[in-house]
Amino acid sequence: MVEVTLWGSLGRAAGGTNKLDIEAKDIRELFRKLAEQHPGLQPWIDRGIAVSIDGTIYRDTWSKQLPQDAEIFLLPRLAGG
């Protein structure tokens, strides 16, 4: 079980909470369970969500493991110039 923190706007889409406890071993499983438990998040996942694990931001490595005691923070998937 990992605790996941959602940024403000995503929290609203998840029903008004900004923290969720999810049983997930990696980012792929996290997204799958988020969509199952909170269908309102599916469009956000489709548009792109980045996952910060202990401050390091992952945009595409969905196989990245989620350590039990890590800080997991969801962020908009951004791009640069």
Binding site: T5, W7, G8, S9, R12, S52, D54, G55, T56, I57, Y58, R59, D60, T61, K64, E71, F73, L75, P76, L78, A79, G80, G81
Partner: protein, 754 residues
């Protein structure tokens, strides 16, 4: 992918040196081939007809007269670009931006295009196209567009992110919010509070090379595109989707690039050129004029930002908040969201809140520009921070050091930071000789900090070892700042051979797997990771071949300094085998030797910079001159220090232009008034001092050599550093960018009048 990207210390041989770039001679002798330098037999000239109206319904387009003009081979409108986007809203916006479908949404929006035998005929044909417009009310100002009763740009837009679902459409596409703590309580603990509103005007990336391409659609459904771009694989994806093609049937070859800075991450004219070629049955060259580049390719957002920051007497910031309104052009974007995330990222804050609003206006579709959205937010925040330091009575550098984020700090955008470099850049600035240099009359010094995320992405690289032992490196990320040299250094380092024996090329889209574009400061970060991976795969093969040549187990073969070395007492009489010797024997040991890599480079690591600026103000005219400028930034590891310095200098130079001169000026009719370099003034060499740089190297733990991105952060601090310098030189706080002579003079006169 089975590659461990973690950093480990090592003594570098090639990395960190400054060899001459492989593309340098061609560029200084004029031999380098840019977008407009490619030609094909039978090629036609493409030209685009653009709306003169900021907002207008397209009632009818009659192309019949143009089609009858001798020499015209094709005329297209949106009807020739049917919608293949399958509900993908972002792609539909790109399609509509390339060719207006129902409404022209800004001055310069494409409405039709022609392909003709020469430029004169093409221009004549454009004049023969009759467009029946119904002109609509328009809005180009970001604050005006948010007002009740403002002309609606898209009546299907309902603001996302509000507590309650809106019942009326709006020009605000999205509200986003970040932060933590309780800002109301935090301001209650403040002894001093600064509250100000700021504006920044829209700027263009100002790349010297305009958008240019040659498109050739073939009768068998395949096509070729030669184009100036920051991401040819992304252009292939977008063009193929917009034209209803298989991506594999479109081969895109990138030219040299005369500047992009984010503006060449987006297709503008390329799908139009392909559609013209498909209809004409001949290749079509399409080169934008400078007027078109300004009116119809990606500028930044114009912004309106409110900032409030409070601090105790001891200099501790107790609360910070900002409301950021960013223009998106006529299509939805996430520009304010990024501004809201980056605005307070440099600081350790218990109570912080930022809110962003994305605003539609009748201006060109906003595109990325080097750390997109961050410079405007930093201008507002760093100006207020400087003012607050003065109120508290602290030195601005010490004030920032006291409040700087560090490892373990919860960032203003959410996560807790790992090891970061804001503190070291501030300490370096505090101790820099520039800070102690004397100043003269009407001169002032300012400093400011900046933050950018940096990104990685999908990357694919091939490394081929020739039979003579030389190495060809094929990469899929566009070289915008010397990356072919940097990546050759990386390959040389890993293989243990000389830089001169490596030749890097940017491969076309049919020769290599998909690569994300060169954006987000990712080029060297990502592709160096893939190059290291490819080289290590090649080394495994080299060891296997050496083992064959010696007839021993590969487990007994190590790779050291460009040689296979047999390990163990029983092999003590075996000499080393060089890469060259192993390559020469490859024909009889299994064939060509190569290393391949495909990976997703994540973990780019956030980046910080601190800049110092000296400025002189002419109190009679409001004119300013930057006298001295210093950039201090963390590079992780500078692979080719000269090109790292070049990125620092380039970002600072562009930031200086943004701060002092550059702005889109719209008339009341919604038309752009200054679509050219005479009236939109970017800085030239004689406007700038030598920009000094100091590279800090705090290794990125998520890259084998510790590399971070360096390309974008350097444009973040200049707006505020210059505003702070100007405030110290002339005693006026400038809140509107650019700080052009008329604005500075008006501020000086207002101050004199009290």
């Amino acid at each position: 992918m089975n590659f461990d990207p973690r950093y480990s210390t090592r003594n570098f041989t090639a990395v960190g040196t400054r060899p001459i770039r492989p593309d340098g001679i061609d560029k200084v002798t004029g031999r380098a081939r840019y977008g407009a330098d490619f030609n094909m037999a039978g090629q036609l000239v493409g030209r685009i007809l653009r709306s003169p109206h900021a907002h207008a319904k397209i009632k009818k387009i009659d192309t019949s007269k143009a089609e009858k003009l001798p020499g015209v081979k094709a005329v297209i409108t949106a009807a020739d670009l049917p919608d293949h986007t399958n509900g993908d809203a972002a792609m539909y916006d790109i399609l509509d931006n390339c060719m207006a479908r129902k409404k022209a949404l800004y001055d310069g929006h494409a409405v039709a295009a022609v392909a003709a035998i020469d430029a004169r005929t093409a221009r004549q044909a454009l004049k023969l196209i009759e467009v029946d417009y119904e002109v609509l009310a328009h809005v180009t100002d970001v604050d005006e567009a948010m007002k009740h009763g403002a002309p609606l740009i898209n009546d299907a837009v309902f603001t996302e992110g509000l507590e309650e679902k809106p019942v009326k459409p709006s020009n605000v596409t999205k509200r986003s919010q970040f932060g933590h703590g309780d800002v109301h309580a935090g301001f209650g603990h403040a002894d001093f509070v600064v509250e100000r509103s700021f504006r920044t005007e829209q700027t263009h990336q100002g790349y010297i090379e305009p958008h240019a391409c040659v498109a050739s659609a073939n009768a068998d459904g395949t096509a070729d595109l030669w184009v100036c771009t920051q991401g040819h694989f992304v252009y292939r994806q977008h063009c193929a989707q917009l034209l209803g093609m298989d991506a594999s049937k479109l081969r895109v070859t990138s030219s040299e690039i005369g500047g992009g800075f984010g503006g060449k991450t987006h297709v503008w004219a390329e799908p139009v050129a392909l559609a013209l070629s498909r209809k004409a049955g001949r290749p079509v060259k399409l080169v934008m004029t400078r007027d078109e580049v300004f009116r119809a390719s990606g500028p930044t957002s114009a912004t309106s930002i409110d900032v409030r920051i409070g601090a105790r007497k001891d200099g501790t910031i107790t609360a910070a908040e900002a409301t950021l309104r960013y223009s998106c052009g006529p299509y939805a974007g996430s520009w304010a969201e990024v501004g809201a995330m980056t605005s307070f990222a440099c600081y350790r804050l218990e109570n912080v809140k930022t809110v962003g609003y994305e605003v539609l206006v009748n201006r060109p579709k906003t595109a990325a520009y080097r750390a997109p959205s961050a410079p405007m937010a930093a201008f507002a925040v760093e100006s207020a921070i400087d003012e607050l330091a003065k109120m508290v009575g602290m030195d601005p550098v010490d004030f920032r050091i006291k409040n700087a984020a560090q490892e373990g700090t919860r960032s203003s955008y959410g996560p807790v930071y790992g090891p970061i470099g804001i503190g070291p850049t501030l300490e370096a600035v505090k101790n820099h000789p520039h800070m102690k240099a004397p100043l003269g009359k009407n001169q002032g010094r300012g400093m400011a900090c900046g933050f950018w995320f940096n990104f990685g992405g999908q990357t694919c690289t091939d490394l081929n070892i020739g039979m003579d032992g030389s190495v060809s490196l094929a990469v899929g990320t566009i070289d915008v700042g010397g990356s072919r040299a940097s990546l050759s250094l990386i390959a040389a380092e890993e293989l243990g051979i000389a830089y001169e024996h490596v030749k890097a090329v940017v491969a076309d889209t049919s020769s290599l797997g998909y690569n994300d574009m060169t954006d987000g400061s990712r080029g060297t970060f990502s592709t160096s990771m893939a190059t290291i991976s490819a080289a290590r795969n090649a080394i495994r093969t080299l060891r296997e071949r050496a083992a064959q040549m010696w007839d021993i187990s590969v487990d007994d073969v190590a790779w050291e300094h460009g040689h296979a070395v047999a390990r163990g007492e029983k092999h003590g009489n075996l000499g080393k085998l060089s890469l060259k010797e192993i390559a020469a024997a490859s024909g009889t040991t299994g064939g060509p030797i190569a290393g391949h890599s495909e990976l997703v480079a994540d973990g780019a690591g956030v980046s910080f910079a601190t800049h110092i600026c000296d400025i002189e103000v002419d109190p009679e005219t409001g004119a300013t001159r930057v006298l001295r400028y210093t950039v201090v930034q963390d590079a992780g590891k500078a692979v080719h220090p000269t090109y790292v310095e070049g990125q620092y200098q380039g970002g600072a130079a562009q930031g200086i232009g943004w701060a002092l001169n550059e702005e889109y000026i719209y008339g009341k009719d919604g038309r752009l008034q200054n679509a050219g370099f005479l009236d939109y003034r970017i800085p030239v060499c004689s406007d700038l001092p030598m920009i000094d740089t100091q590279i800090l190297e705090i290794p990125n733990p998520n890259h084998p050599y510790g590399v971070r991105g360096v390309g974008e952060t350097s444009i973040v601090p200049p707006l505020a550093a210059i505003a702070n310098a100007l405030s110290n030189a002339a005693g006026v706080r400038m809140t509107h960018i650019p700080m052009s002579p008329p604005r500075v003079l008006a501020a000086l006169e207002a101050a004199r009048e009290g």
